[in-house]
Every structure is written in structure tokens, then in C-alpha cells.
């Protein structure tokens, strides 16, 4: 081992995952978590050492299923000697779209990804963002039922990201299933019906964003009139900021009643009490920290 063949690396531990028809499903994880490997396995580009996967009820090795799926790889690169139109025609033919139907779909999809006027330009003249758009176009050209996007927002400016988000929502409205990997959590939060979190090749959590984040220890923000922070409030672990004649404190949810008791005792006037919503990012960081601790303690 090691001289003739590379040492095998376990990229993915057993992964049990169901994606419902018609939903936008986010596949989240830090770099090297196994997101791209999972997608490559589903596309038949790498072979798993065990297990099985089905798309639309068909085995992934069944080539007929591939006519019904679209795939955008991470940082796509295309034949740069072709024009955008030629490339899409090529992919369309490989997916079984031919004739007038093909040319109609190519023009339509070029418009849909915001490239209606550059169909005749060779891809070597395209910017990274434009190539990403062409990548999305080739993935949806043959009107697949399920679309897999690997980091679809990568390389796009804020406008481009917004357009891709809109496009994914349109695909959902058309009844298509969208499965996308990302490490941009705000995109996942804004788009996904459900997400899965993967780390070190292992699935850590699956569920709706709201359900996942509700499990995280919440915080509350309390604002009152005053110029000082009572010591007993500080003792509750509050992060306090004094601005003019108001004090803003953020503290754990379970300390909220104790803090209010202190304010009443000290006769300080309460301005507001608002729960601080846990973002997916906070959830994600906490989850990964916990899993790293587990791995560390096992080691």
C-alpha cells in the first residue's frame, strides 16, 4: 500500500438522507466535510465502497434517471473553444433534446440565467460569474425534475447571488426538487425548506431551519433607562453596553426573570425585552464545535 496505490481515505461515513420531492434542500458543511464527494457519488463520478442511493425511486446507476437530473459542479469549467450556445446545444443533445426544441430551449435558458446577448461568444472570453451562469443554464436546460447544485453562489456578485436565489425559488415553484451544497449559511437560511449539516464525513443534523435553530440555547436583549449596570446583572453573564442614558444587555434566556427582578428592585425603568433569534450560522458554529469536541475526546 502507498507505493502502487494511494492510501484510501474515508471521505464519508454512512449517510442516511431523504430529500422530499419539490423541496429546496441545503447541504451544509465546512470545507472538506464531504459535500462534493456526496454529490459526485450521486452523479456516478466516484463509487461508494458500500450502500445505495436512489433518485426519483430509481437506482443512481440506472442511466435513465440521468435524463431527469441536472448537475452544476463546483467552480465549473467548460470547453472554452465553444460558444455558450454551442456548449448548451452539446449538453442538450447528450440529454436527448434535439431539433427545434433544442434551439428554443437554449435561447430560453440563456435568457433565464441573464446571458441573452452572449450566446455567440466563446467561453474563453467569459468571466467566472458568467461561467457560473452558463453552468446553471446547462443544469436546467433539459428541464430536469431534480437539480443538484454544488456551491451555486460561488464566484457570483451580490446581484448574481440574488438572481440565483430567485431562480432556485422559481424551480421550486415549477415543482422541481433542488438539492444544493453551500457554506454560505444566509443563502441556505433564506432558501431552504430543510437542511442537512455534514462534518468530517458524518451527518450531524437534518431538519427545517427553524426546528434546528430552536434547539440552540436562546438569548434575550433587555434595554432599560440608566447609566450603570447593577453588579447582580453582570453576574448573570450579561454582555452590557451603555449608550447615553440607556443600557443594553444581552443575556441567556434562562436568566431573564432574575434580571427583571434586579431591575424592579433597583427601580430601573424597562424599555424593551426582545428574544434574540438564533441564526443558522450560530447553530452551525455550535454544532461543529460540539462535534469537534466529541472527536477530540474520542481521540
Amino acid at each position: 500500500m502507498g507505493f502502487w496505490r494511494k492510501r484510501p481515505k474515508c471521505a464519508l461515513r454512512p449517510l442516511h438522507l431523504n430529500v422530499e420531492e419539490g423541496e429546496i434542500f441545503g447541504f451544509l458543511g465546512p470545507n472538506g466535510a464531504g459535500k462534493t464527494t456526496t454529490l459526485k457519488m450521486l452523479m456516478g463520478l466516484v463509487f461508494p465502497t458500500g450502500g445505495s442511493a436512489r433518485i426519483l425511486g430509481m437506482d443512481i446507476n440506472d442511466s435513465t434517471v440521468k435524463a431527469q437530473i441536472g448537475f452544476l459542479p463546483e467552480q465549473p469549467y467548460f470547453y472554452d473553444y465553444l460558444t455558450a450556445r454551442e456548449l448548451l446545444e452539446y449538453y442538450g443533445r447528450l440529454s436527448g433534446v434535439v431539433g427545434k426544441d433544442l434551439s428554443g430551449r437554449v435561447e430560453k435558458v440563456l435568457g433565464r440565467v441573464g446571458l441573452p446577448d452572449v450566446g455567440g461568444v466563446q467561453l474563453r472570453k467569459f468571466s467566472k460569474g458568467m461561467l457560473q451562469r452558463v453552468g446553471i443554464a446547462q443544469a436546467i436546460l433539459h428541464e430536469p425534475k431534480v437539480v443538484f447544485f454544488d456551491e451555486p453562489m460561488s464566484g457570483l456578485d451580490p446581484m448574481g447571488r440574488r438572481e440565483v436565489r430567485d431562480l432556485m425559488e422559481q424551480l421550486k415553484a415549477e415543482g422541481k426538487t433542488v438539492f444544493f451544497s453551500t457554506h454560505i449559511l444566509s443563502d441556505a437560511e433564506a432558501l431552504c425548506d430543510r437542511v442537512a449539516v455534514i462534518h468530517l464525513g458524518e451527518l450531524r443534523a437534518v431538519g427545517a431551519v427553524a426546528d434546528l435553530t430552536s434547539g440552540v440555547q436562546g438569548k434575550v436583549e433587555i434595554i432599560w433607562e440608566g447609566t450603570s449596570v447593577p453588579a447582580s446583572v453582570k453576574a448573570l453573564g450579561a454582555e452590557c453596553h451603555i449608550t447615553g442614558d440607556t443600557v443594553r444587555a444581552v443575556l441567556p434566556e434562562q436568566s431573564q426573570d432574575l434580571a427583571l427582578d434586579v431591575l424592579r428592585r433597583e427601580r430601573l425603568r424597562l424599555v424593551s425585552l426582545v428574544p434574540v433569534r438564533t441564526t443558522l450560522e450560530q447553530y452551525f458554529v455550535e454544532k461543529l464545535k460540539r462535534s469537534e469536541k466529541t472527536v477530540g475526546s474520542l481521540a
Binding site: L45, S63, K66, A67, F78, L82, Y90, R93, L94
Partner: protein, 258 residues
């Protein structure tokens, strides 16, 4: 040919054309017209012999170089640039990809050889002023050269399916050189004894027999080529190329595209 293979083949051809592979025709035309004018001035009665020898050897060498250097990148470049990901995520089987690539490159080489053949016949006409019946055997020699291209394309694809482009080029070119002297290897095997005889015989049968596909010299002398040789060479080249392609497919089917 199924439509996916035809689509991949035509794209491979288009890539070769746009990568200016056919520009070699210009170098070939310059070489051949220069040689024709030169031999017309310095050789007596052997102008045709020189032009046919030089022209067909150039067709063969130019084609072999293209077959090797384009062939070795056909699979590895697609993996390296990850263009293969979007192809294989469609209803394209891996064997269809390999076969499509093979036909694309073979088509490029046939078109290339066709234009070069026109050049050879034009040079022949220039030095001899008219065509004679034995000149028809030049077409057979060209046909054998195309059969050589098919074998080399398939070998380049075979090596490309598991090795790096540089090593693939070394392997393919080495096999071409050894294959050109395969007749000598067979003669050596006939004279050797013991283990050496077995080894030399095995190698002689394993490597492609390019010397049987080379009739340039006899054709240049106006000697005919037997129908039996044409049939044997055709069957041999098709069988050898098919075997090499099957090997490439078997390896590529199991390959993880990382």
C-alpha cells in the same frame, strides 16, 4: 452509431479543428511542394519514387504525432478540467464517452490524411505530369496508414485512461517505434532459443505490427499490394484497435473521478 457517441465524436473533431490541429497541413504542404520542386531538379528518373516515399512517410509521421499528442489528452484533459463531470452526469455511459472520443480523433485524422493525400497526388502530378495505373497503389498505402492511426488512437486512449499525459505519450510513442520494427523482432524470435525465444515471441505478438501496415517502399516502386494483405491488415487493425478500446473502457469504467 448512437446519437450520444456521434455528439461526443463531433465535439472532439470540433475541438481538434479549433485547437488548430489541422494547421499541420500548412507545414505538410510547404514540405511537400518544396521537396517536389527540389527533386524535380536533382533526381533523374526517380522523382516519383522520392515524392511517394517522402509524401507518404510525412502523412504517416504527421498523423502519428497528432494521434499521440491529441489522443493522450482526450480523457486526462477532461478529468483534469472537470468537463467530464457535466458529461457523465447526463445519460451518457462511460463506454460511450470513450468510443465517441475515439471516433472523433479517428475522424480528425482521416480528414487530415485526406487533405495530405491530395497534396501527395498534386506533387506526383507535378513531377510526373500524368498519373499511371500503379499510382493507384498509393491509395492502398494511404489506407494502411489510416489503419495505423486507428491502432495508435486506441492505444493513446488506453494509456490516457490510467496514466498521466506525459507517460501516455512515452508509452504510445515507444509502442509505435517498436511496432515499426516488429518484423525484425519476429525474425529475432525465430532465431532465439529457450526463454528468450518465448519472451521475444510474446512481445512480437503483443505489440502492434506496424511493419505489415507499411507498404510505402513497395508502392513507391510501383509494386502491387495483394488483396489478401489488404483483408488481413484490415481485420488485424480493427481487432487490435477494438481490443485496446475495450481495455480503455474496462479501466475507465472503474475509475473514480476525483
Amino acid at each position: 452509431m448512437n446519437s450520444r457517441i456521434a455528439t461526443i465524436a463531433s465535439n472532439t473533431f470540433r475541438e481538434a479543428v479549433r485547437d488548430r490541429v489541422l494547421y499541420n497541413l500548412i507545414a505538410f504542404a510547404v514540405l511537400l511542394s518544396g521537396a517536389a520542386i527540389l527533386v524535380g531538379q536533382i533526381s533523374i528518373d526517380i522523382e516519383k519514387l522520392v515524392v511517394i516515399n517522402l509524401g507518404l512517410t510525412a502523412v504517416s509521421l504527421f498523423g502519428v504525432v497528432i494521434a499521440i499528442f491529441v489522443g493522450i489528452g482526450l480523457v486526462s484533459k477532461e478529468i483534469e478540467k472537470r468537463t467530464l463531470y457535466t458529461v457523465l452526469s447526463r445519460p451518457v455511459r462511460r463506454w460511450e464517452f470513450i468510443v465517441g472520443k475515439f471516433f472523433g480523433l479517428a475522424g480528425t485524422l482521416v480528414v487530415n490524411a485526406f487533405f495530405m493525400a491530395i497534396g501527395v497526388f498534386a506533387a506526383l502530378l507535378y513531377v510526373a505530369h500524368k498519373f499511371q495505373k500503379p499510382d493507384g497503389w498509393v491509395l492502398v498505402a494511404l489506407y494502411f496508414i489510416i489503419l495505423q492511426f486507428l491502432i495508435i488512437c486506441s492505444l493513446a486512449l488506453l494509456f490516457s485512461s490510467f496514466s498521466s499525459p506525459l507517460l501516455s505519450a512515452v508509452f504510445a510513442f515507444s509502442l509505435f517505434v517498436i511496432g515499426t520494427f516488429s518484423e525484425d523482432l519476429r525474425n529475432f524470435a525465430g532465431m532465439a532459443t529457450g526463454l528468450t525465444k518465448w519472451l521475444a515471441t510474446a512481445v512480437a505478438y503483443l505489440i502492434p505490427n506496424f511493419s505489415a501496415l507499411n507498404v510505402i517502399s513497395s508502392v513507391a516502386h510501383g509494386q502491387p499490394v495483394s488483396g489478401q494483405l489488404i483483408v488481413y491488415n484490415t481485420l488485424y487493425a480493427l481487432l487490435y484497435a477494438t481490443m485496446a478500446l475495450c481495455g480503455a473502457i474496462l479501466i475507465f469504467q472503474r475509475r473514480n473521478l476525483k
